[in-house]
């Protein structure tokens, strides 16, 4: 069991800056994120796209912003738990008991949800029947590539993940690559490689096709794909892999007894606290009159929620407001020299 003053759910810009604010005022905190990397939407959705509305930063990409925030919290050595989703949050006396999908547990007086639009989950194939094959014959990520060796594998998608795996698995499997249009959006070198392998008969390329049906008892036997012209083709295959990127889903947050409307959590604007004492929501996931889904708003919300956490984490102490420019205590926490 991990004990901490505050647990932050979400390692996007708002979660990271909230962590900074907590540490600055002398509280400890840990961060959990379902993605396997830090940065949230900035890293997952638009790492290369420039952002122009971060105060005092005329232009930076999602990746640069993330790296700057990581640098900013570096002095604090904050523990982050990546690739884990918080599944359970329940009351335990004065504290909240928190459990992740991997069974890790936390006890904390403060839970700060900085979850963006929810957790990132892979986008799945549309046909409902695909569910029964999931993690057996149908996968949305590859954890152990050896299971495909010598098998027939049908890969769907047009981005780098689909193309990279098509190239990689073509070395030891019979690969079909299926995409809804002729253009691929992956790196040019990989696209060229795929076409080269297709020409050499190492990859069977089907463009303008989409999955319409999956057939099999316990495991996948064949799939049906439909061309733009409505023609349907049946392909025998052992595995189907879908690489359609990630989608944000509210997920388990919906079950924690919070006031939720349209995938956002209602909060007050003093503490950014939800209807549950000691659970806060900041950043894109919170809502209040006038809410703007801007990164800068998330920073403000995190700063105020952090102050609110102080009361519950240190009930017998008085929070004292200090500036980073003049406070010796804060400079000590940051590990910088005082004048």
């Amino acid at each position: 069991m991990n004990k901490t003053d505050a647990l932050i759910i979400g390692a996007g810009p708002t979660g990271l800056f909230t962590a900074h604010q907590l540490k600055l005022i002398g509280l400890d905190c840990e961060i959990v994120d379902n993605l396997d990397k830090i940065g949230g939407q900035c890293i997952e959705l638009y790492p290369d796209k420039p952002i122009y509305d971060i105060p005092a930063v005329p232009e930076c990409t999602g990746e640069e912003l993330t790296n700057n925030l990581i640098n900013q919290i570096k002095p604090f050595n904050i523990k982050t738990h990546l690739g884990e989703r918080v599944d359970e949050v329940k009351k335990d006396g004065e504290n909240w008991f928190v459990k992740t999908n991997l069974g890790k547990t936390f006890l904390t007086p403060n839970v700060i949800i900085a979850g963006g639009v929810g957790s990132f989950e892979p986008r799945k194939f549309p046909p409902k029947e695909c569910e029964k094959f999931e993690n057996k014959s149908i996968f949305y990520s590859v954890k152990d590539k050896t299971i495909f060796s010598g098998k027939r594998v049908s890969i769907f998608g047009g981005g780098d993940s689909a193309l990279d795996w098509a190239v990689e698995l073509s070395k030891s499997s019979k690969v079909n690559l299926i995409h809804r249009r002729d253009d691929f959006r992956g790196a040019k070198a990989t696209v060229d490689k795929v076409h080269e392998l297709a020409k050499a008969g190492k990859i069977n390329l089907y463009t303008k096709y989409q999955l319409t049906n999956v057939i099999g008892e316990d495991k996948l036997e064949s799939i049906e794909i439909k061309h733009d012209s409505k023609e349907i083709k049946k392909i025998e295959t052992d595995f189907a892999l879908g690489f359609f990127g990630l989608i944000m889903q509210l997920g388990p947050i919906a079950d924690w007894g919070l006031n939720i409307d349209k995938k956002t959590v209602a909060v007050d604007t003093e503490k950014f606290e939800t209807n549950q004492k000691g659970i806060y929501a900041v950043g894109d996931i919170c809502s209040y009159p006038g809410k703007l889904k801007l990164i800068l708003s998330g920073f403000h919300e995190g700063a105020l929620a952090a102050r609110a956490c102080f009361k519950l984490a240190r009930p017998n102490e008085k929070y004292r407001f200090e500036f980073t420019t003049s406070s010796k205590t804060i400079k000590d926490r940051l590990g910088v020299k005082s004048d």
């Binding site: 939407q41 959705l45 638009y46 986008r123 549309p126 995409h179 249009r181 253009d183």
Partner: protein
């Protein structure tokens, strides 16, 4: 103001006046039309404002950017008349536009 018609998956028709300059996505979200999630807020980064444009209107809309086509790869059941509604800006020329909202966005 131009009128935009949104047909939702439950066979309901919503015809709404949307101000010039707003996107078809914003028109839906501001008027609580179900089925448009717009998770990224109009940034062409999520494909959850996906609509099927009425066949008569497909050619009348401004062309898609490459980025929009890339995002549509990730949409739920994309078709030839698929568009991201956050990329369609309402103008007088679009008065009468009809879009169909898919059964789900993800």
């Amino acid at each position: 103001m131009p009128k935009i018609t949104y047909n939702t998956h439950d066979n309901k028709t919503h015809t709404i006046e949307v101000q010039n300059g707003l996107t078809v996505m914003e028109g839906a979200v501001q008027n609580d039309i179900p089925g448009i999630d717009a998770d990224c807020g109009g940034g062409m980064a999520c494909a959850t404002c996906h609509v099927y444009v009425d066949e008569d209107w497909v050619q009348k809309l401004p062309q898609k950017d490459d980025g929009e086509e890339d995002m549509l790869d990730m949409a739920f059941e994309p078709k030839k008349n698929s568009r991201l509604s956050c990329q369609i800006i309402v103008s007088d020329e679009l008065d009468g536009l009809i879009v169909n909202i898919p059964s789900k966005q993800s």
